[in-house]
Amino acid sequence: VPLESVVDALRRIHSALVPGGLLVDTQPLSPRPPASADGRRLGALDMREWCETVAAVDRLFDKVTGSLYSVETEQRFVVTDMFDSGTEFVESVSGWRGTHVSAALGERAAGATPPLTVDQEVRLRLLVRR
């Protein structure tokens, strides 16, 4: 993700918001989110690359855009993604940015009983436009 484009987007959103307007930002933050099927754990995705991207955006946010917004509150919760087949699971999650699926997990998913699920911790931040 080009970090400059994130900053540009935050500036554009800032301009579009009324003073005191709210920005709700949610991001998945699990480096190794678990994948399961039929109540059994199949393994975990490798999303460390994605988490590095989020961390880089956070650092940039603090430096460059902290003057544009203040963080009002932050929450965390779990969001589930559900898939109707192992094939769909592998095709979908392999396309997520900064996400890798091991061959072993792919094989276990292919033979698993649907639905397959991935549980990710999500951070919600409520930002107020300065």
Partner: protein, 97 residues
């Protein structure tokens, strides 16, 4: 078919946190309308955009006729956002920045 957040954890958290009633909302990177649906049900008006034309088509199709009347969809990236200054009360960025 992939279903994100079938339990509505994310929309419930947002709904509990902020009042959308009557607000003018912009949904940044709306995808297939997970948050647009919430905004359309609560807000006064919604602008939603995403760089993926297929996602925007899905989003349009997923809304009820009543909800659809409140939403203006566009296909473009956040970097191409070009709207009048100080127009929106709330911006929703769900997994999109």
């Amino acid at each position: 078919m992939q279903r994100r957040d079938p339990d509505g954890a994310e929309t419930s958290a947002i709904d509990a946190l902020i009042e959308l009633k009557g607000r003018h909302v912009i949904d940044v990177g709306c995808g297939s309308s997970r948050l647009t649906s919430l905004a359309a049900a609560r807000a006064g008006a919604v602008d939603a955009f995403d760089p993926d034309a297929d996602s925007v088509a899905q989003a349009k199709a997923s809304l009820s006729q009543e909800a659809r009347k409140k939403v203006r969809f566009e296909v473009h990236a956040a970097e191409a956002l070009d709207v009048p200054r100080r127009r929106f009360d709330v911006a929703l960025c769900g997994w999109s920045l």
